[in-house]
C-alpha cells in the first residue's frame, strides 16, 4: 500500500513536469516577432552606400514582415494597422506597406504597426531619425592644408534633400567674402597663389546648395583652407 502511494507520488511529479513543459512549449510557439524596415526616398549621391536618412517632407516607405518559430508568416490575411505618432494612417487586411511623411510640426517621429492574426495582436514601434538636409564640402587634403601654386578642387555634395537628381540643385560659393558664381556646377576650383606672392594663409569658404524643386530647402556649409608656405 505504501509502495503504491509512493509510486503515485512519482507519477504525479512526472505529470507535473510533462504538463509544465508542454504548456511552456505551446506558450513559446505563440510569440510572433515583427520585422519593420524602411527606406527614405530622398537624394544622396550614388557613391553613398549607407542608409538614406529622411529630412522633413521626405516620403518614407515602410514594410512589415512577421516571423514565428523561425517561419515567415503569411500576412496577406492579417489585419495590419499603421500609426504615425499614434495617429492611424493606414489599415486593413494584408496592408504590409505604408508611406509616412514627417513635417516640422511633428514633435516626434514614431511609426507603429499592429498586426492581428489568429486573434493575437503584435505591435512594433520604430523611432525614425529625421535630420536636416546636409551639404558636405569635400576638401581632399590632409588637415585642410594645401601647398601654394596648386589648383584645389572642392566639391559640394548634398545629402538627404527632397530632390531626385543632382540637376535639381543650384550651387553658389563665397570665398573670403567674395561671391564666386551660382549655377549647377558643384565644383569650385581655387588657385592657391604663386609661392613668391604674399597671399592669405587661410581661406574661408562657404558653399550653398538650394533645391530648385523646393526653394526653402537651402543649406550652407563653411570650411577653412590653410595654405602652407
Amino acid at each position: 500500500m505504501k509502495n503504491k502511494k509512493q509510486y503515485a507520488g512519482q507519477l504525479n511529479t512526472i505529470l507535473f513536469f510533462v504538463l509544465f513543459f508542454g504548456v511552456f512549449s505551446l506558450t513559446r510557439a505563440a510569440n510572433p516577432e515583427l520585422i519593420v524596415t524602411w527606406r527614405a526616398a530622398n537624394f544622396y549621391p550614388i557613391s553613398y552606400t549607407g542608409k538614406a536618412i529622411p529630412s522633413y517632407g521626405t516620403k518614407i516607405y515602410f514594410v512589415v514582415e512577421g516571423i514565428q518559430d523561425g517561419k515567415l508568416l503569411d500576412l496577406s490575411r492579417a489585419n495590419i494597422e499603421w500609426r504615425k505618432n499614434g495617429e492611424r494612417i493606414r489599415g486593413g487586411d494584408g496592408q504590409k506597406e505604408a508611406m509616412v511623411v514627417f513635417n516640422k510640426n511633428d514633435e516626434t517621429s514614431f511609426v507603429s504597426v499592429a498586426v492581428t492574426a489568429n486573434g493575437t495582436t503584435v505591435i512594433k514601434n520604430v523611432s525614425v531619425p529625421v535630420i536636416e538636409p546636409q551639404l558636405i564640402l569635400e576638401v581632399p587634403y590632409l588637415n585642410m592644408t594645401v601647398a601654394k601654386n596648386a589648383d584645389v578642387a572642392i566639391t559640394a555634395t548634398p545629402y538627404f534633400f527632397n530632390a531626385q537628381t543632382i540637376n535639381d540643385f543650384s550651387f553658389s560659393w563665397i570665398v573670403n567674402g567674395i561671391k564666386k558664381g551660382t549655377g549647377s556646377n558643384n565644383k569650385l576650383i581655387l588657385n592657391t597663389g604663386s609661392p613668391n606672392t604674399d597671399s592669405d594663409s587661410i581661406v574661408n569658404i562657404s558653399g550653398y546648395a538650394q533645391n530648385k524643386r523646393s526653394l526653402l530647402e537651402i543649406k550652407k556649409t563653411q570650411t577653412r583652407l590653410f595654405i602652407s608656405k
Binding site: K4, Y7, A8, L11, I14, L15, V18, L19, F21, G22, S25, E33, I35, T37, W38, R39, I46, S47, Y48, T49, G50, K51, A52, I53, Y61, F62, V63, E65, I67, G70, K71, L72, D74, K96, E97, V128, P129, I131, Q134, I136, E138, V139, P140, Y141, L142, T155, T157, Y159
Partner: protein, 386 residues
C-alpha cells in the same frame, strides 16, 4: 494508482515525444525548390557563353569561403613592401582583380571600363556605362556583377573578365550577389509587385530562376551569402539608426533575427574574415558567424580591410574618424597599414616610411599574393604596394 492516471500519463508522454519528433523533423526537412522559367517579357538578351567562374577557388572551411590565392604555386602572401605604384591613369569609381590573368580592371568616373596591361591602361571596346553604382566581382574576379543605368532604367549585368563583354540580366532583379558557390547569382527579385529571394543558375546563363525565399520585402538591406545554406540580410549603415541582421537558412527554411540594436554598424565580409564595427563592439575581425576570431588593438573601419588566405590587411586612420564622415567624404584620414595573421592571432604594423610620400585614405582593398591594391580617396586613383 488509478488506471485513468496511467493512461493519461502514457498519452501525454507519447504526445510530447511525437511533438518533439515532429518539431525536429519539420526543421530539418528539405523541400524541393520551385523553378520558374523566365518568360520572354522579363528576359533580356543572354548572349554570352556562361562564365564558369574561377576553378582555382576552393572552399576549405565550412563557415567562411577561403580564397586560396594560387594554391598550386605554394607562394606565400607578400607582407612587406618596398614601393608604391599608381595603377590607373584616371580617377576610378570601382576596380577588381582578375586572378587568372593577374590583371586589374577598373570603371572610370565616366563609366568606361579599362584594363591594365604591363602597367598601361587600355579602354575596352564597350559603351560607357551610366551611373554605375555597384560592382561586385566573384572570388577570383572572373565574373563581375554590375548595376548601372540603361535608357533611364536601372539594370544589372554580368561582365566577363575573360570575354570582356557584358551580359544584361533580367530587369526583375533589385539586388544581386554571388552565391556561395561563386558561380550562381542570388538576387532579390521583383515580379508582379512581389519580392522574393531567388537563385539564378550559371549553368543556364542565369535564365532559370529558383525561388529560395518567396514573398519577402525588406527595405535598405544588403544581401550576403554567408555559406552554402545561409543568407544574411544586413540593414544598411544608418547614422544614429539602430540596425539589425537577419539570417535565412535555405535548408531548414528558418528565418531568424541574429543581431539587433546595432549602432554605427558596418560589415565587410571578405574571403577569410568578416570585418565589422559597431558602437558597442568597436572594430572586430570575425568569422562568418560574427564571432571575434582575434583580438585587435587598432581601431579602423571595415571598409579599409581585406584578407587573402590567412592574412588580413587593414589601413588604420591615425586619428579617429566617424563612419558617416568617412562615407560622405566630410573628412579624410591619414592611414597606417597593419597586417593580421589570422592563424597566429598576431597584429603588426607594416612600415611605409619612405614608400608613401603622400597621405593615404584607403578604400576597396584587394590583397593578392604579390601586391596590395587600394583606391586612395585623396585622388581616387588605384595604387599598388609591391
Amino acid at each position: 494508482m488509478k488506471p485513468f492516471y496511467k493512461y493519461l500519463i502514457i498519452a501525454l508522454i507519447l504526445g510530447i515525444v511525437a511533438w518533439i519528433v515532429y518539431f525536429v523533423l519539420s526543421r530539418n526537412a528539405e523541400q524541393p525548390q520551385e523553378v520558374i522559367p523566365i518568360d520572354a517579357t522579363t528576359t533580356e538578351q543572354i548572349g554570352v557563353p556562361t562564365d564558369t567562374g574561377d576553378n582555382t577557388t576552393t572552399t576549405e572551411q565550412i563557415d567562411v569561403p577561403t580564397d586560396t590565392g594560387d594554391p598550386e604555386s605554394g607562394e606565400s602572401v607578400k607582407t612587406s613592401f618596398s614601393k608604391i605604384e599608381k595603377i590607373s591613369d584616371v580617377p576610378v569609381r570601382f576596380f577588381w582583380y582578375y586572378r587568372e590573368n593577374n590583371r586589374i580592371f577598373y570603371v572610370t568616373e565616366n563609366g568606361e571600363i579599362k584594363k591594365v596591361i604591363d602597367g598601361k591602361s587600355e579602354t575596352l571596346q564597350l559603351n560607357s556605362l551610366e551611373n554605375v553604382s555597384v560592382v561586385r566581382p566573384n572570388r577570383g574576379g572572373s565574373s563581375v556583377l554590375l548595376k548601372f543605368t540603361n535608357n533611364s532604367n536601372t539594370i544589372w549585368g554580368i561582365f566577363s573578365s575573360m570575354d570582356e563583354k557584358i551580359t544584361p540580366l533580367s530587369s526583375s532583379i533589385i539586388d544581386a550577389v554571388w552565391g556561395f558557390n561563386n558561380k550562381d547569382v542570388v538576387a532579390s527579385w521583383n515580379q508582379g509587385g512581389k519580392t522574393s529571394i531567388v537563385s539564378l543558375s550559371s549553368i543556364k546563363n542565369f535564365s532559370d530562376v529558383s525561388i529560395i525565399l518567396p514573398e519577402i520585402s525588406l527595405f535598405d538591406v544588403d544581401l550576403i551569402g554567408q555559406s552554402d545554406d545561409e543568407l544574411l540580410f544586413v540593414e544598411k549603415f544608418g547614422n544614429e539608426y539602430a540596425t539589425s541582421i537577419w539570417q535565412y537558412n535555405i535548408k531548414t527554411k528558418l528565418f531568424s533575427t541574429i543581431r539587433k540594436g546595432l549602432l554605427d554598424f558596418s560589415l565587410n565580409p571578405t574571403a577569410s574574415a568578416y570585418f565589422f564595427t559597431s558602437k558597442a563592439d568597436g572594430f572586430v575581425i570575425a568569422n562568418s558567424l560574427l564571432e571575434r576570431i582575434m583580438p585587435t588593438i587598432q581601431k579602423t573601419l571595415p571598409e579599409k580591410c581585406s584578407s587573402v588566405l590567412t592574412t588580413a590587411f587593414c589601413f588604420v586612420p591615425q586619428t579617429e574618424i566617424s563612419l558617416f564622415n568617412w562615407y560622405t567624404n566630410s573628412s579624410f584620414s591619414n592611414d597606417s597599414l597593419y597586417i593580421y595573421n589570422l592563424d597566429a592571432e598576431a597584429e603588426d604594423q607594416i612600415n611605409l616610411t619612405g614608400i608613401a610620400k603622400n597621405p593615404i585614405d584607403a578604400k576597396d582593398i584587394i590583397p593578392t599574393m604579390s601586391s596590395l591594391y587600394f583606391i586612395n580617396k585623396y585622388d581616387n586613383f588605384i595604387y599598388a604596394l609591391n
